[in-house]
């Protein structure tokens, strides 16, 4: 039972990450490889605020969000001068820089030792310690996230993002500012990733930089590629599939000596097959083609 609750909580956290990233990847058509950085900055910022200043969870979470949004703004300005492959590389560079800083700034982050004993969140006087309590807390924040993002998905802002994604030159010719619009999307995605980070940190009560590596960013991107982007259903399908598939493979009854490797191979093979069978993702309408965008 606890195992299932744990999986549900992780699915909720990843849904927050995926729905936010969908704004950049699905609507904006920009392949960002640094989403885990915003997740990590949110986790570290809110944790350090709680530990060092003693403020409670909700204000720490919101301040972490503001700090992460500021980071996203600072990264977005140079990164959004580029499109296509070059944008991917700039976000990759940022991912590596932040990981290195988190890993080596021992004075602030304790580096590879990580931060243990992160306090459990207290919300309106209740300390949340049980898995059920956690499931509800993350669930509530996920609901708020989804409501806000769904409004954005169908707002004029969402349509402008899609127009810029499909043809930046034509959209700009209709008066849409690419830099402003993409930057807003990038900041919003960063802000919601930070929420997920704060929730994750207080849930597992221990963070170290290895939770926020390039692997994690690639995982988040593949969640969207598998599930489908640019709509409401894709991230849900992607998160559920990508989190449950490796778990399901545990029950195959493979001999212990080869099990982990075989599981990895089946997992990889499934992803490859999926890209052949449904390149737009399981629930996607739009196929990401960042090479096409590079021409603009």
């Amino acid at each position: 039972m606890n195992y299932i609750l744990h999986l549900l909580i992780m699915i909720e956290i990843y849904l927050i990450l995926a729905y936010g990233l969908n704004l950049v990847v699905g609507f904006g058509g920009l392949l960002s490889l640094c989403h885990a950085v915003f997740y990590g900055i949110g986790a570290y910022a809110s944790t350090l605020l709680m530990i060092k200043t003693g403020i409670s969870f909700l204000p720490a979470m919101l301040m972490g969000m503001a700090i992460t949004a500021l980071f996203a703004f600072l990264v977005g300005i140079p990164a959004l001068r580029f499109r296509g492959d070059h944008f991917v590389l700039v976000t990759l560079g940022f991912q590596m820089i932040v990981f290195t800083v988190l890993y080596n700034w021992v004075g602030l982050t304790r580096g590879p030792y990580g931060i243990p004993e992160i306090p459990r969140p207290g919300v309106f006087g209740y300390e949340i310690t049980s898995l059920i309590g956690y499931l509800i807390l993350v669930g509530v924040i996920l609901m708020v996230t989804i409501i806000i993002l769904f409004i954005l998905y169908k707002s004029p802002f969402g349509l402008a993002l899609k127009a810029l994604r499909d043809d930046e030159m034509a959209a700009e010719g209709l008066g849409k500012s690419p830099v402003h619009t993409f930057l807003y999307a990038f900041i919003i995605a960063g802000g919601f990733a930070s929420l997920a980070g704060s929730l994750y940190a207080t849930y597992v009560t221990y963070i170290d930089p290895t939770s926020f590596t390039l692997d994690e960013s690639i995982f988040l991107l593949s969640v969207l590629l598998v599930g489908g982007t640019g709509n409401r259903l894709g991230p849900l399908v992607g998160v559920v599939f990508m989190i449950l598939l490796p778990e399901a493979l545990r029950f195959l009854g493979l001999p212990d000596t080869v099990a982990p490797n075989v599981r990895q191979m089946i997992y990889g093979l499934t992803l490859i097959l999926l890209m052949f069978l449904r390149p737009q993702g399981i629930a996607g309408e739009y196929k990401i083609n960042h090479y096409g965008k590079a021409e603009n």
Binding site: P156, F157, A160, A163, M169, E172, G175, G230
Partner: protein, 253 residues
């Protein structure tokens, strides 16, 4: 009186003069042709007007305002719209979404707008639904309204791009070969639309780059003839097309 005034515009790319000291002006309520051989600099001139390219010298003035160094989205917000040679519809959006996206003002395209002005947003959506339907009907794409733009034929995509420009409320339309690659029926359709635009709204200015001389003769009373980056001739269409040099350089007669 002139809407768009171009003064002494030059542009060299890799040392090659693509546009060379071009001066021209375009009047409202009129379709003005811009003709000349391939490589004469017509499309580059459009790029410079819309801000895609920065000119080396000269000045572009639109309704008394200097727009020479504005980025493309700000030029567009001044009321200059463009039909691209390669059409450029938003392929994954429906016909209707394509047109609606052109209607939105940049002030409503901020992420905070739907939260701060919820009522205004809903009202605007209804309003624009009607407006976009009007322009989709205007170009005759009503039955394709809800299909993705990628499934339209090339000619229908051109019609859609025109609807987008009209819905966007642009008062100066730079049309880069609107009839190229189309069958005679479609060409006729597009020409009728262009004539209707200036007939209905004398405030609209159309600049037409075109290779098909029958098209130019039919809709444009005045033409600029460009050759090797320069304006070689300007005059009434029949005069310019009747000129011996133009006939030699361009028409090969």
């Amino acid at each position: 009186m002139e809407k768009l005034k171009i003064k002494n515009i030059s542009k060299a790319i890799n040392g090659l003069k693509i546009v060379d000291r071009v001066t021209a002006s375009f009047l409202p309520g009129r379709i003005t042709g811009l003709i000349g051989p391939n490589g004469a600099g017509k499309t580059t001139l459009f790029h410079i007007i819309t801000g895609e390219l920065r000119s080396d010298t000269g000045e572009i003035n639109y309704r008394g305002e200097d727009i020479t160094s504005l980025p493309p989205y700000r030029v567009a917000r001044k009321g200059i719209g463009r039909l691209f040679q390669d059409v450029r519809v938003f392929e994954n959006l429906t016909v209707s979404e394509n047109v609606v996206s052109a209607c939105y003002d940049h002030r409503v395209e901020t992420p905070w707008f739907p939260f701060l002005r919820k009522k205004r947003w809903k009202a605007l959506e209804r309003e624009l639904k009607e407006k976009s339907d009007y322009y989709i009907d205007y170009v005759g794409l009503m039955e394709m309204k809800d299909v993705p733009a990628s499934s339209l034929s090339y000619g229908q995509q051109k019609l859609l791009a025109i609807a987008r420009l009209l819905a966007g409320g642009f008062s100066l339309l730079l049309l880069d070969e609107p009839t190229a690659g189309l069958n005679p029926v479609m060409i006729k359709k597009i020409l009728n639309i262009l004539k209707r635009i200036v007939a209905e709204d004398q405030g609209k200015t159309i600049v037409l780059v075109e290779h098909d001389m029958s098209v130019v003769t039919e809709v444009a009373d005045w033409v600029y003839f460009m050759n090797e980056g320069r304006i070689a001739f300007f005059g009434r269409t029949d005069h310019v097309l009747g000129d011996k040099e133009v006939r030699e350089i361009y028409l090969g007669l």
